[in-house]
Symmetry: C2
Subunit: 212 residues, 2 copies
């Protein structure tokens, strides 16, 4: 490996190290809590080194949102694709989301719940990135519903937007209650019961819903 | 009025002025964004005067949570009591909540959504105050459900905890989507449709649900 390649690889490793820490901090304290100085201190790196990799606090915040999105895709979106399109995949997607929240992939619970509340009423590039993540996720849930309907497993008059809104509401609220009350039995159980009821009502055959 | 009374009254007025501003700031930027210096500057008061009224940043944060709770009670909880116990009052309570959020009683939308996300994964007096507010609100929704069942308007096997969880989920998510996307038609409409469906399913007679 040439000297240049070695430098690039070290840079990438440091970048990953920093981002693994920033997603965790942001999930508990928000994206405003990120600072180049704090990260350099915590990770025993030079401030100029961290600065050289990200350039500005805003770039660090944007890279953190992208990294959280990558982890979320890896833990929730991709594994659900292992199940065939239909009610089973839709259930699997919700179940993986609840496990992502309950298992504290990020120590503060769902990363996006935290940063949406932080940036929802502001403007600028970070707000726009957070908005886009939420839009992509909702579109993915709606797409999974459309797919299940196209597979003949959901009633033809299913309103995908309405159903996606209700499923997302149950998931997000389980995360909120669980993190706030530091409990994990009641809230996730209620979310699962609600999701199961919504899917049974929308399915052409309630037996298609796992656990029914 | 004696000189002492006059001073107390001026103190109370200043306190109200400060808190009217802190609840607005916190609903957009969170409780950590509150500082005695910033408030003194924005409201053209002396820093020592603001400090004398609140004592510390934490006291200012706690007083802000209490003031937001007072406004919330005035706008949502009390007006719903004008309707007789039953499905009508439960609907009214949800409807008043959605109007409180949609009407931006606080410029950042629901005050509690913002500060729960900010303090959920922390510890300390502010976390505890926020937790208690959320617990009180959930208990109030559950109590309103129990009342409606006792009035013979909800099915005897209604699970009050489950129904309250689902109603709160629909309300909070409408607030989240509306503030983030800066829109107010789709999200509140979906929340209302979801709430109506839940109440129709739980009511002994679906005609008891307003708008059915």
């Amino acid at each position: 490996m040439s000297r240049t390649d070695g430098r690039i690889e070290r840079g990438n490793r440091t970048r990953q190290l920093v981002l693994r820490r920033t997603v965790d901090i942001a999930s508990v304290e928000g994206l405003e809590a990120l600072s180049v100085g704090r990260l350099a201190l915590e990770l025993d790196l030079s401030k100029s080194g961290v600065f050289a990799l990200f350039g500005s606090k805003q770039e660090l915040q944007l890279a953190t949102v992208r990294e959280a999105g990558r982890i979320f895709t890896e833990r929730v979106v991709l594994p659900a694709l292992a199940t065939l399109p239909g009610v089973g995949r839709l259930w699997q997607l919700c179940d993986l989301w609840l496990e992502y929240s309950r298992g504290r992939v990020f120590p503060g619970g769902c990363f996006f719940y935290e940063v949406i509340a932080e940036f929802d009423a502001r403007s600028g590039a970070v707000h726009d990135a957070v908005l886009q993540s939420q839009r992509d996720w909702t579109a993915h849930v709606e797409g999974t519903i459309e797919e299940a309907r196209a597979a003949g497993e959901l009633l033809p008059d299913t309103d995908a937007g309405q159903l996606a809104f209700e499923l997302v509401a149950l998931m997000e609220t389980a995360n909120m209650i669980s993190v706030l009350h530091n409990e994990e039995e009641i809230s996730y159980g209620r979310a699962r019961a609600g999701i199961r009821a919504r899917l049974r009502a929308a399915a052409v055959d309630p037996a298609l819903v796992p656990g029914s």
